[in-house]
Symmetry: none
Subunit: 270 residues, 2 copies
DNA sequence: CACTATTTGTCCGTATGTATG
DNA sequence: TCATACATACGGACAAATAGT
């Protein structure tokens, strides 16, 4: 985030903290990973040599080597003896950009650029908080689905939905794998009216991390939404976790405070 | 998300990762700090004993003691020989809920419930991406500030702002520590018109983690905003990182897709 | 007044991890 | 690669303060 570039290899040793509990090699790894992800190096560009990094960061060679090893094992750099280190990076990543009005999972157009995999489809007793939000009894069963959405074969979102049983029974497992949930609800006579949505962040749990092919603890964008019908009864509760590299909300704001959300558009970022 | 409390001292050893680079004692410290901040213990309530923590977390006494020492040195607990450990001042945690129309940092009302600390105030050459967004030359200097905002003495947001030099020179370091930036800009004759805002997630870097008293790599909600004046010139670029436990966006959606954002409200969570 | 159980404080020995030169 | 120093983590032992029997 703080980047200055006076000279090819500036002293950035102030970005590591020798009194911090995190081991030095990990601090160095995080720092270098940040610079690569921030686009500081072009694809195939030479990475600083070990000696240069020693000068830049004021740490010993072993520490640098361990950090480079981690970068290498994650595929961010390629090291070759006598040839130096090169940044592997920038495949041009497609990142979805959505308006907060969202309903992304229900957007027909999205179906053309992404694919969905239905991981689970079941009737279970809801967690306490979900039962409250759906205004059902804790012992009542609700329909629960678990879905992973991919863009260009990269899984980028993990969604769990809860629907009251009587509504859920109106469509099948096969239908939900194809049709947007909101369509199915309306087909069942539900008159969707409004929704309350919360946006925050969360670390990836182990099962989510496995589904999204990322490490446990990785940061994810979290959206929770409860959808209501015209008589103000909750008809759907959904929780979605997004990989931030592949998904973001974008909003345009007017001075008055009135927002003008974008419909989703795919945009290339470098 | 899933919280169960079977018994007074449940096994929560799955919350620490022995293969992580962060030292165990620090993981334990963060875990216990979170539980205290989450309001798991009443004021003056007895904290689990060392032996209980050993059983709960499956770590050695030395590790527990070091974590407790850190909690004690930060005033979260008080330890007395033969009497045990007590939790000090367990604040009911307030989570800020904001509308995505945000401009949170410029909200006057917010000033009453939160405090700001100005970490840096300087003129620097901007990072490449910021230079582009602010439409200034890479070698031109821009004003850069770094601020941490706290709620009830818990730091929950870390903000970096960039303002073109000629605008930045119209106010002082002292003023920015008190007045909302948007006010200062308008005082300088800038006619703020609209903004583009992106919401995503990001892992905490080391310096950010230190400022927010969290572990490096912790998930943070990330908001990036560029503000424009009436003639469509960028006048401010700001990047804010929020701790998700203390901050979230909340939006109400109408079926038409029109959003109705909430003004911020403070709400207690248990 | 012991006696005991509990709990924190202090110390040792050892093994492993981290970092330097 | 090696020698060295320091930090981390484990297991254990014992002391000191407190409360209850």
């Amino acid at each position: 985030m703080t980047e200055l570039s006076n000279g090819p290899h500036p002293d950035i040793s102030d970005q590591i903290d020798r009194s911090a509990p995190e081991p030095l090699y990990h601090q160095v790894f995080l720092l270098l990973q940040d610079r690569i992800n921030a686009g500081a190096y072009a694809d195939g560009e030479r990475f600083p040599t070990e000696n240069e990094l020693i000068a830049m960061l004021n740490v010993s060679r072993i520490t640098i080597r361990r950090a480079l090893q981690e970068l290498s094992s994650r595929g961010l750099i390629v090291r070759e003896r006598a040839l130096g280190t090169r940044v592997v990076n920038p495949r041009t990543v497609t990142r979805l950009v959505a308006g907060v009005e969202g309903m992304l999972e229900n957007n027909r157009r999205l179906g053309r650029s992404t694919t969905v995999r239905l991981l689970r489809f079941e009737y279970v007793q809801p967690p306490l908080d979900v039962a409250k939000l759906l205004e059902v009894n804790e012992t009542d069963e609700v329909q629960r689905t678990e879905r992973v959405r991919s863009i260009e074969d990269i899984p980028f979102s993990y969604a769990v939905t809860f629907v009251p049983e009587q509504i859920g029974r109106t469509y099948s497992r096969e239908e939900i794998a194809k049709e947007p949930l909101l369509h199915l609800l309306e087909r069942s006579g539900v008159r969707v009216s409004h929704a309350r949505q919360t946006i925050s962040a969360q670390a990836a749990s182990i099962p989510v991390a496995r589904a999204l092919l990322i490490g446990a603890g990785a940061p994810l964008l979290r959206t929770v939404r409860t959808v209501f019908d015209e008589s103000n009864r909750p008809v759907e509760h959904i929780e979605v976790l997004y990989r931030p590299e592949y998904f973001a909300y974008e909003i345009e704001l007017e001075r008055t405070g009135v927002t003008r959300d974008r419909q989703w558009v795919a945009s290339k970022i470098t």
